[in-house]
Symmetry: C2
Subunit: 170 residues, 2 copies
């Protein structure tokens, strides 16, 4: 988390009040700012828990994706689709995982354009220990009961669907 000491008031709520007074309806702005801020909090908590294991959340997600795959191996572009990442971000992440010997790059058997990424045994091991570290802190998400967590997921999934993040009903 940012090394701030907490304010005695909610800065987002205060900004929303001023916005309402001086500009107009502030509900959407408040929701968006909340998402931005909560993402920042979660990212910070998660990255702190992963730092001892030399991972970030982005790299951890990539490892999990590979562990879940049949052969422990996926093409770069498929990883980008599943993780919703730009191709250059995939390159960046795989570079660092490879430097830590957690994955390997291999050529695709038939299509010489595509690069296959394969998780190593060290990668599988690292993913397990990192998962323990993350579940220990509940992924940084605190203050919600099970029903509220489900509600949050439902609302955000609805936003993603509306934004065209995916097409089919889940």
């Amino acid at each position: 988390m940012p090394s701030h000491q907490p304010l005695p008031f909610d800065p987002i709520d205060r900004a929303a009040q001023l916005w309402q007074d001086r500009i107009g309806p502030a509900a959407t702005m408040a929701a968006v700012t909340n998402i931005m801020r909560v993402q920042q909090i979660l990212q910070s908590s998660v990255d702190a828990a992963l730092r001892p294991h030399c991972l970030t959340f982005a790299r951890y997600e990539a490892l999990v994706l590979l562990v879940f795959s049949r052969q422990g191996s996926l093409p770069m572009n498929v990883m980008g689709q599943r993780l919703q990442l730009h191709p250059t971000s995939v390159t960046n992440i795989v570079d660092r995982l490879q430097a830590d010997h957690l994955v390997e790059r291999n050529g695709h058997p038939t299509d010489r354009r595509t690069t296959m990424v394969t998780i190593t045994e060290a990668g599988r091991q690292r993913q397990k220990t990192a998962t323990v570290a993350l579940t220990d802190i509940d992924f940084g998400l605190i203050g919600l009961d099970d029903a509220q967590t489900a509600q949050l997921t439902a609302l955000l999934t609805q936003v993603r669907r509306a934004a065209g993040d995916f097409t089919n009903p889940s």
Copy 2:
């Protein structure tokens, strides 16, 4: 938005199902991943809308904060507290705003350590036009009705409070 074409299924939901089968309870993981992804979508939409005005959301927020202040002027550290940003991030943002002549740096009258940031007339103008651009796209947040937006804000505010982001009831 990322230049992906949408998948025919929800990658987050699919990952949650696999997680449930192979690792354990996945509700928290799914919620966290949803927040990360929605933040990314919103950031992308908002930045795209602001790009013609040579602004990013971070810099826009800084401008709004200054517009809302009494004198159009705040110390760097206060900006950091309100925007929940690391001091170095504030330096970065103010640097760029200053390079665009949207703000100025002035010395504090009594405390020579602190730097005051003052919005310029051009800054006020830019904030107005950028606000129009953002409200036109609803800040990128689509697919929710008013009640759901309020619900989302309430849930996220609860998370921030639990994380110690601020102390008092709103």
